[in-house]
Subunit: 151 residues, 2 copies
Amino acid sequence: MRGEYSTRQKRELLKFLQERGMRHFSVDDVVFEMQDRGEKVGRSTVYRYLEQLAAQGSVRKYQSTQGVTQYQHVEDAARCGGHFHMMCSRCGDLLHVDCKLMDTLSNHLMAEHGFMLDPRETILVGLCERCNGGEAADHGADGVEVCDHRL
Amino acid sequence: MRGEYSTRQKRELLKFLQERGMRHFSVDDVVFEMQDRGEKVGRSTVYRYLEQLAAQGSVRKYQSTQGVTQYQHVEDAARCGGHFHMMCSRCGDLLHVDCKLMDTLSNHLMAEHGFMLDPRETILVGLCERCNGGEAADHGADGVEVCDHRL
DNA sequence: TTGCGTGCAAAGGTTTTGCATGGCA
DNA sequence: TGCCATGCAAAACCTTTGCACGCAA
């Protein structure tokens, strides 16, 4: 069965994910960082393992505008499944938004547009508070912005 | 200077864009449709001209999850800049949503989360009505769903 | 020992580029 | 005629896949 063995490569990659936090990265980022550390990991292995992790929900995939697949670590899949994410197009930061208004939007899209919005796949893109020139945002102790605003 | 000459290929491609409305398409779509019409246009030419149009803002580029670049004609940049897009993760269809609720969301994210949402970059991902098992959605004559729902 | 995991190289697919030719002004 | 535009083929990229070997359990 898949993911049965614990190997050096997997451990290295998991360590990389830990250290990376939730900032996005490419396969190249992994390969080169491993190289710098002197812990070489084959490119196919990185692709394959990230694919596995994506399937089980602990990393997320999306396409950058440059056509390079970007990955991002989701520390707690169950916890992150219920809320949405905003990505800053300038600094690349990924923010979590646990906002009631997003539920309203989901319901609306379903009822009025027949579209079932997927919180796991959707990333709201824009400029975060810092990059937008505002004050530093309070992203909360664990990085999740909780908001009960309902309109 | 670029875009100086009017050629058969450019005229054909512009005609294609007109007819296509705002529905998205790939380079292959263009090449094959031209072929069917008996008006062959080289693939590189399509890439190059679309790149030019993208630079001047009359087409927009997206990256599908399958790694194929999707293009979309922006008849009126101001008009399409103001609405959002939903992509079906199963069939890859790109839908336009001109929905007042999205404005509400934008304003809310700005006011409460300090996040400036970018309609051009953001794509809502989920399942479209067809793929979700519902009836066929009415995507409107030009493929744009207009909705004045305000809550 | 068993069979999953890894790495290399090759294949596959998309997009870009070099260069000679074609065609607009 | 002067140059931009085009098309072909090759190159450049990114990702996937086949296969033999390595290694965890």
